[in-house]
């Protein structure tokens, strides 16, 4: 891949996904794009780039999709899920006792493991039947979301993060793969969504999980997303980022929930009433 093509790719990802492609990723780009080139009938990635510059939407989307990082696992970063089980869920169940409605959004769901981990916790919590619980999971990658809906995982993927008891309870063996139970699949509604697009479809949510996506974001894109998150999150809602992610320089609308659990935030007092925002 030549330097001009790589620069074009970096710019495309920045425009389409707010994604920062670091300059040392030429190898990664070449290996990710080779299958896309083949699928579209190009002999080499150079030909793919020549076509890409004419900007056909579906090719640009396929290239963006292929470059996304879908690294995830069940119960990845256990403390964050323990906090959901032990603090976030009980506090919201009590705060929403009147409306009996809870809305949870996994904003960078990748191949679905995080959303299904939350679904398992919700299932184990034995919440009364008259509650309406929306578990919404989205990702920019249509490929990842298709896998999430399918709910089929390799031995390697289920081995990571799942204890044997949980595996046998919620999965059925399917050849050399494992398929998550229909019960859990029906708990989650998946959709393809770019965090830079309009959030109009979403409505207010009580919990946002957006873990480790901003690690690859351009600073401005991260700032814009956090602003949008503050708009859709309920005043007493929770936001979970990855354990190594911070708000520094990106948003003042959130404060850490509990110093012992990294990455979990609540709205800052001043962000609860948008009028008070200095902006």
């Amino acid at each position: 891949m030549n330097a001009a093509d790589f620069a074009y790719l970096a710019d495309l990802l920045k425009r389409r996904a707010g994604f920062h492609l670091s300059p040392n990723k030429t190898h990664l780009a070449a290996s990710r794009l080779a299958p896309v080139a083949r699928r579209y009938g190009f002999r080499k990635t150079d030909e793919l780039f020549a076509e890409l510059r004419d900007a056909p939407e579906d090719l640009a989307r396929a290239v963006t999709d292929a470059m996304m990082i879908n690294e995830t696992s069940f119960f990845r970063d256990k403390p964050c899920f323990d906090h959901f089980r032990g603090v976030i869920l009980p506090s919201l169940l009590s705060a929403r006792a009147a409306s009996r409605r809870l809305r949870i959004w996994c904003a960078a769901a990748a191949t679905g493991q995080e959303a299904y981990s939350l679904a398992m916790i919700l299932d184990e919590a034995k919440i009364a039947k008259d509650w309406r619980i929306d578990l919404i999971a989205s990702d920019i990658s249509g490929f990842a979301i298709a896998r999430a809906i399918e709910g089929r995982y390799s031995q390697y993927e289920v081995q990571r993060g799942l204890q044997a008891q949980t595996l046998v309870r919620y999965f059925a063996q399917d050849g050399d793969h494992w398929r998550i139970s229909e019960h859990l699949r029906r708990m989650v509604s998946f959709r393809t969504f770019n965090l830079l697009d309009s959030y109009g479809w979403l409505g207010e949510v009580d919990v946002i999980y957006c873990r480790n996506a901003f690690l690859y974001f351009e600073p401005l894109a991260k700032r814009a997303c956090l602003k949008a998150f503050a708009n859709v999150l309920a005043p007493d809602g929770y936001l979970a980022l990855g354990a190594s992610e911070t708000m520094e320089g990106a948003s003042t609308a959130f404060v850490p929930d509990d110093a012992s659990v990294r990455g979990v935030y609540r709205k800052a007092r001043h962000a609860i009433r948008p009028v008070a925002l200095a902006s």
């Binding site: 031995q155 081995q159 044997a164 595996l167 999965f171 063996q173």
Partner: protein, 119 residues
């Protein structure tokens, strides 16, 4: 320092796994078969026992350790070369807490140990 017993017929696997455990600051002991494993448990019950469940006879070892009246209940993790739901269920009902796929490496051991509360 936590104490781990590694039960596997393969000398090479025992050496490799004990080495990984020592790097994780565990005190590692090894046994090639059930009788010596039970003897180790009788002298001092480890915190965790890794048992090769690829060997069908070792399922009985899991039951025998659970029958032991020692006050300490060790974490028992079966090691397997194949992911088979029947096999996993059998191991759980014999008394294993979890399983881990071979080949074992430092990352998968650490992850499993963290899940079972050992680290």
């Amino acid at each position: 320092m936590k104490h781990c017993l590694v039960v596997d017929e393969s000398r090479v696997i025992r050496k490799v796994v004990c080495h990984l455990l020592e790097q994780m600051k565990f005190y590692a002991e090894e046994a090639a078969e059930s009788a010596s494993a039970l003897e180790t448990c009788r002298v001092q019950m480890p915190d965790v026992v890794l048992i090769n469940l690829g060997n069908a006879g070792n399922m009985e070892l899991v039951r025998a350790i659970r029958r032991n009246a020692s006050a300490k209940r060790p974490v028992i993790i079966g090691t397997m070369t194949e992911h088979d739901v029947g096999h996993i269920r059998e191991a759980l009902s014999a008394g294993a807490d979890d399983y881990i796929l071979k080949p074992l490496d430092g990352d998968s051991l650490k992850e499993k140990f963290a899940q079972t509360g050992l680290m």
